[in-house]
């Protein structure tokens, strides 16, 4: 199982701050595509991804037990 964290407008669009996906292994790109299709979450084209609190690339591998967070453009400060 992979835990997915959602923030800001992603969270508001889905109406949840996290999802749990029954996936054993996937690339970040595949995971994004899956969610784009399932939730019409086209905003995923312009967000970064973190795996277990570290920024990751589209080619990186997500495995069961990992926490994936989608990071929209940040606006702290």
């Amino acid at each position: 199982m992979i835990k997915v964290l959602l923030f800001a407008h992603l969270q508001e669009k889905i109406g949840k701050d996290q999802l749990e996906l029954e996936i054993i292994q996937s690339t970040v790109a595949e995971l994004k595509n899956k969610l784009k299709n399932q939730f019409q979450l086209y905003e995923l084209n312009s967000v970064m991804t973190a795996i277990n609190e570290e920024y990751a690339m589209d080619e990186d591998i997500v495995k069961s037990g990992d926490t994936v967070a989608f990071i929209p453009p940040v606006s702290g400060g």
């Binding site: 964290l5 923030f7 800001a8 407008h9 969270q11 508001e12 905003e43 312009s46 967000v47 970064m48 973190a50 609190e53 570290e54 920024y55 690339m57 967070a69 990071i71 929209p72 453009p73 940040v74 606006s75 702290g76 400060g77």
Partner: protein
């Protein structure tokens, strides 16, 4: 002892407490940056803000910024606290304190910290305007990613 240099909090930030975290007998200069909620942005009036963070990763990224500063300005000490939740006009959103034996490094490292916060720390601001609300970063209100895409070179140093 035990006090943390990098914090995400949901209560008001005391500037003096950040200053005391970086005070050292060998430091003659301390700079602080205090980011407050501005009422007017390009003619639009803000009523209040909401900040949200991916807290554990945000703390990690603040610490990473501290590490980067330690490499570039070796004699400095840094503390950063960012507030989340609802903030009203003039409330303090972020305080950065840097101490150094000499002032030049204290200014430079401090400015570096705020630039990096705006690049890599997972914190989001929702503006509640007079008419409507917006998550900043996903609208024309702000263009943190000038190329339209997140920039991996900013985060993978």
């Amino acid at each position: 002892m035990g006090e943390s240099l990098y914090e995400i909090v949901n209560k008001p930030i005391q500037v003096e407490s950040l200053v005391s975290k970086v005070e050292r007998r060998e430091a003659g200069a301390i700079t602080t940056f205090i980011g407050t909620v501005r009422e007017w942005t390009k003619g639009k009036r803000t009523i209040y803000l909401e900040y949200q963070a991916y807290v554990p990763m945000a703390v990690k990224m603040l610490a990473k910024i501290g590490d980067e500063i330690g490499e570039r300005w070796p004699d400095t000490k840094v503390a950063i606290t960012h507030r989340i939740g609802r903030l009203d006009i003039s409330d303090i959103a972020v305080v950065i304190a840097v101490s150094s034996p000499h002032r030049k490094a204290a200014y430079e490292a401090n400015e570096y910290a705020i630039e990096r916060i705006k690049q890599i720390v997972p914190i989001w601001k929702k503006e509640h305007w007079e008419h409507g609300e917006t998550w900043i970063g996903d609208q024309l209100e702000n263009t943190p990613y000038p190329e339209g895409e997140p920039n991996l070179k900013d985060v993978k140093i």
